[in-house]
Symmetry: C2
DNA sequence: ATTCAATTGCGTTATAGTGACGCAATGTAC
DNA sequence: GTACATTGCGTCACTATAACGCAATTGAAT
């Protein structure tokens, strides 16, 4: 795989990569899709390179699709990381050796890479994590217990979450992270998990319904321990409208 | 100059550039520092390349310092632009011809460049626009009447202003854009100009003083047409504190 | 010198938004 | 039935915000 890229390195933007922080929500946990390659004991963000004739946004879509099988998902650039020391020759050489690629052939790969960070919000249940060439493991990991990551990937992840928190004040969230039918408490948990703090049930209900993006269904959640909460779905049209025009309130 | 870079192209990150949107405030106008090269009839944002052994943030500082003579100024990355078509071979070749550089030697320069956008806030009066090698004109231009720019520089400028508008809700602004002593109406004009709309005088005064970053001086502005407004200066300590912790209110 | 017009600085008021909390209704467990 | 956790709706006090009033100050006009 890397071999393919090196053999066609003229087709790729040199020294530039894409890293995606893919968020999912399940079991009341905010999860991040991470990969672990066989040649390293650390986890990493899913990433890729940029074909010279492709927009970087397109390249990010390709990465997202390659790892989740999903398209048409919320995906947003949030920052670019270009520290001088952000490429470790050791790491690169380990990878090259693993693939049996001579070091001089892999010079392209071993130089300093500037990476553009994107974050995505996807539906956990519709996602099929896809390892690439059976050489690595792709897994959802609770954002609270992410292990040590390669290079500066932890910093990238933190920045993505920080950005998501900020943008929560500017846009609605949930359409891409929750299943079609959900309850208000579930949506609240999502917000609480992203923000990292508790919200008042009653105030949350008031504010979230006031936005006008929810459609109350004539149906209650079944098999629950206590009073059955009502089910809701997003009003796609209103949701898109608010996503475009932005919110005016904050959490 | 470009020749120097091409001769040492191994020392620069290939296919990557920095573009800076440098804002200044003067005569109640928000101005942008633009350059016009002799070989083009369009204006452009000041930009530069990234040495392989330098952080991209450092490279941005270098660009800012090179064009304004300033250091230690508010400078922030806001977005990265990587459309596939964002480099015009025509433009590149024109430049190469101007410098008398053979096209094959300039291949490095003529390929697609991804550019990282930074915006800066500087003190207009302390800025000495510095042309580079007498080959170009550097000038402050009112952001309302910027002429046509090369490539996608207009898009970059617009995005910078949009970001600045957003961040106005999160941080105080003015310390880098105004002289040491200023009046509340001047500060208000700055805010109005950035936001592109009028604010109520009396509400503005109340909110801006409530933040606690202003120090009222025992001095009034002289030589003014009407009632002399009081002079203020920023309380550097409080200002830095708010800059770090962020604002909670919006405009 | 007096008046005028523009501007500043401080205030008031009505309304909307926010945080904190009360309480009845609903459903499970025993 | 009783106990208990959770949901859904409502209340209340407080704060923030927008809209506007008005006296004081100053240079310019008369």
């Amino acid at each position: 795989m890397l071999k393919n890229i090196l053999d066609n390195k003229e087709s790729y933007q040199p020294g530039l990569s894409i890293d995606c922080v893919i968020f999912g929500f399940h079991d009341n946990q905010l999860k991040v899709l991470l990969i672990k390659t066989k040649y390293s004991d650390k986890w990493a963000l899913p990433g890729g390179f940029v074909p010279v004739d492709e927009d970087i946004d397109e390249a990010a879509v390709t990465v997202l699709h390659g790892r989740t099988g999903l398209r048409g998902i919320f995906l947003r650039q949030f920052s670019t990381f270009g520290a001088a020391k952000r490429c470790s020759v050791d790491v690169s050489n380990t990878v090259l050796e693993f693939y049996g690629i001579p070091l001089d052939e892999g010079k392209w790969y071993a130089s300093r890479f500037v990476t553009v960070g994107y974050y995505a919000l996807v539906d956990f249940l519709q996602t099929v994590p896809q390892p690439e060439g059976n050489n690595d493991i792709v897994e959802w990991i609770d954002h609270n217990i992410v292990p040590e990551l390669v290079l500066d990937h932890k910093e990238i992840l933190d920045k993505a979450l920080e950005t998501l928190r900020m943008e929560l004040n500017l846009m609605p969230v949930g359409y891409n992270l929750l299943p079609e039918k959900f309850t208000i408490p579930e949506l609240q948990k999502l917000y609480e998990t992203i923000l990292g703090r508790k919200l008042d049930r009653r105030n949350f209900l008031r504010k979230i319904t006031a936005i006008g993006i929810l459609r109350k269904l004539d149906e209650k959640k079944s098999n629950v321990a206590h009073k059955a909460p009502n089910l809701y779905s997003f009003d796609k049209e209103k949701y898109e409208e608010v996503l475009k025009n932005g919110l005016t309130q904050g959490w």
